[in-house]
Amino acid sequence: MDSYKPQDFKQFLNRRKIKDQVAHGLIVGLSVVTILPVILIISKLLIEGIGQISFNFILETPPDSYEAMTAVALGDKIPRGIANGITGTLLMVTVASVMAIPTGILTGIYLYENPGSLKAGLTRNVTEILQGVPSIVLGLISYLWVVKHITNGFSALAGSISLAIMMLPMIVKTTEETFKMISPSIKEAALALGVPYYKVLVRVMIPTGFSGLLTGILIGISRILGETAPLLLTALGSSQINLNITEPVSAIPLLIWEFYNDPNMVELIWSSSLLLMGIILILNLTARKVAFRTVK
């Protein structure tokens, strides 16, 4: 065997330095690749869309094709806005939340309370499968159940139900995880004071885990805000502002789809996307902010 020479060690160190630099470069480079699309998307939306955003954009319904065509031909901005989409989205997200939040929280509590039970295990697995169901399939199901049999036509209710099913697994999961993070001794302390179980849940556990639950809810909402596929089959769309849940309504993502398909209106996709993205971004940032106030 050759004897060990100091210069070997120097060579070895040099090789290692190069490897280090390559690895470092790769990590930085790939991180940039990851965040680059977000920056590009947001800047594109800002550049193309900000010009359209005004009070009218939020308060008025879209122009018809002819109006839009005339405006484009004259080199003007397309007039009016997407108020029907904003109200439709708000309506459906609200109804979906009213359905999904209590159901999800109660299911999450059930899973937390029965970690080892067979029924809870089954529920947990089914919830996970539900999370993986493609949204278009949820739209189809809601079409079959609600559009065909309950509202006898396209409706906000049908849209809300498909959105509620979409956000349900997320709320179940975050409820269970949040409650698991709360020290069991907090629950014991309340029970040892002779507090009935349901009051322990409502007055101690839910307030203690409030920020966690809120984070889950906000992320759930921001997830369904941009959903388009199930709405095509359920809410259908409407050119009017409509707050009746048994009637068809529009939604911001539905409008984006419609604008995309109408050559005269295509300019509006950017401002609509910018608004939608802005709402989702604000919700996500709020969710992050409340998540940091976790319970000790």
């Binding site: 029970l191 004071l193 002779g194 101690v204």
Partner: protein, 259 residues
Amino acid sequence: MNNIITIKNPVLSIHDLYVSYEKGKYAVKNVSVDIKRNSVTAIMGPSGCGKSTLLRAVNRMHELYATIQTKGSIILNGRDIYQMPAIQVRRLAGMVFQRPNPFPTMSIYENVIAGFKLNGINLKKAQRDEIVERSLRDVTLWEEVKDVLYKKGSFLSGGQQQRLCIARALAFNPEIILLDEPTSALDPIATSKIEDLLVKLKEHYTILMVTHNMSQAARMSDYSMFMYLGELVEYGKTKDMFTRPKDRRTEEYLTGKFG
């Protein structure tokens, strides 16, 4: 059994208590014991000997395990606790846990009054103030927190938090206070404060505590129980038990041969 002394006019008496978590396996076996009013009684024994289960059987907190089975009777101030609703029992027997566990969303004031608040018992402001002040004075915390009553309890030090938890248990004026290793998560100074406090509290309350710490039992308890494998091996005055243990197992435990 001559290793177990009898007590006249006890506040709590346990008769032939058996508790099992699994069928055929007993965590507490055939325990019969009387607890003297206005005294500190320590329950000692190696890990897994059933001391916490015995303590929790007194306020029926052990029933949180779905599979639990209990036989025997526990009489608290003349009333059989298994003949009344569990939530009522828990208001008569206050409990303090190993780790301080003030409610994190509540202020110090609300923590003390939590038993009333969470149970929906409405009190006038003056009554609430009185209970909060009395309970905090009882645990010698009043002077330290009287200016920050509306701050969250979680800002206090560990020892202060544990005294707050004792105050929370005292607010109901319980017949007995159950403590499950109340100082095991605290530093020596906080521990000695709690010990002094418990000795003082026995003027008005009866204290039953589980402890892992033999010298703590020797320092502050009037009576001691020694449990082993679910059975009550010996029960007597602490002084007698530490100087002349009657059972060989007690002696071996106290001299550090096992445990």
